[in-house]
Amino acid sequence: MDKSAQEGPGTIDLYLNIILLVFVVATGIAAVWLRNLLASAMVLGIYSLLMATLWVVLDAVDVAFTEAAVGAGVTTVLMLLAIALTGRQEKKRRARPWLPLATSLGTAGLLIYATLGMPAFGDATAPAQLHVAPYYLARAQAETGVPNVVTSVLTAYRGFDTLGEVTVIFTAGIGVLVMLGGASRRRRKPPEPVAGDSA
């Protein structure tokens, strides 16, 4: 993003995007289709890695980095842990899920219809390119001394938002701790009092 190419998206980029998006759709369908939840979690990891590649093609390297680290890395591990706690196989469904299917397809149709109203891909006159983005790109390095514009937008110009994000992450961690940590401590304490474990 900080060294975005000045020329438009080339043909190679187009083919790469098409191939990646086909694989993204395929892994998405496979993740839903597979009965084995372990395999499903792995496929979701691949899905995230493909999305990360897609962000790299779009020059959004910071987002790609986050997607690869969180989506493909930590989330997969957390899903594997959740599967280890519950069960490896998905339960057999009795009824055909027509209503959820119709709802998802209807929502997808509406979203695709909505993309028709969006500015063209890479349009320089799109509202997103004309509002504050030119200001940031022109002034960020002089005002913050940070060459990576993404970092200076996230931490300086939008510092209050990022403080909110960090608070959300903190709250999520505390929430998990309250829901899972406390119960385990009560259950674990009586049989084996661990000396070093100060949970």
């Binding site: 842990l81 706690l85 913050t144 940070v146 993404v150 931490t155 960090v166 999520a172």
Partner: protein
């Protein structure tokens, strides 16, 4: 999983480099892709790898839950504390420019400190979530 010799040796070799890469991403986030969020996840991944390959209890002795909770709080406090420090220096909340006589330099300092705060909280919370799940097994 402690019977798998290859996994244990490779993990032991990899973990220092994962940590080093995490710190690189943390401190280099203002020049290249990266920053506190990504660095925090990478540092947490090193400890999670250790816990998976060796033992959750051993990993918990390195980073006990009490320390992780304190670190998670500390990161948010560091971030908000920079904002309060800016108020004391006579600026607005999170207006890092007042930290130094040169506003650009002050902004840079402020960004570095709050990135460390973000990294600390993210790493600690990722490990808190992992260990909360892993301890229940």
């Amino acid at each position: 999983m402690s019977d798998y010799l290859v996994l244990r040796v490779i993990a032991k070799l990899l973990i220092p480099f994962i940590l080093l890469f995490g710190f690189y991403v943390q401190m280099h986030g203002d020049y290249g892709p990266g920053g506190g969020f990504q660095a925090g996840v990478i540092v947490a991944a090193a400890f999670i790898l250790y816990a998976i390959v060796f033992d959750v209890k051993t990993a918990q002795r390195v980073v006990p839950m009490a320390i992780l909770v304190s670190l998670a709080c500390l990161g948010v406090l560091l971030y908000a504390g920079v904002g309060v420090a800016n108020l004391l220096y006579g600026g607005l909340f999170l207006e890092y420019g007042v930290l130094s006589h040169d506003p650009a330099h002050g902004n840079h300092i402020g960004i570095l400190i709050i990135e460390i705060g973000v990294g600390t909280t993210v790493a600690a919370v990722m490990m808190i979530i992992f260990f909360s799940f892993a301890r229940r097994r």
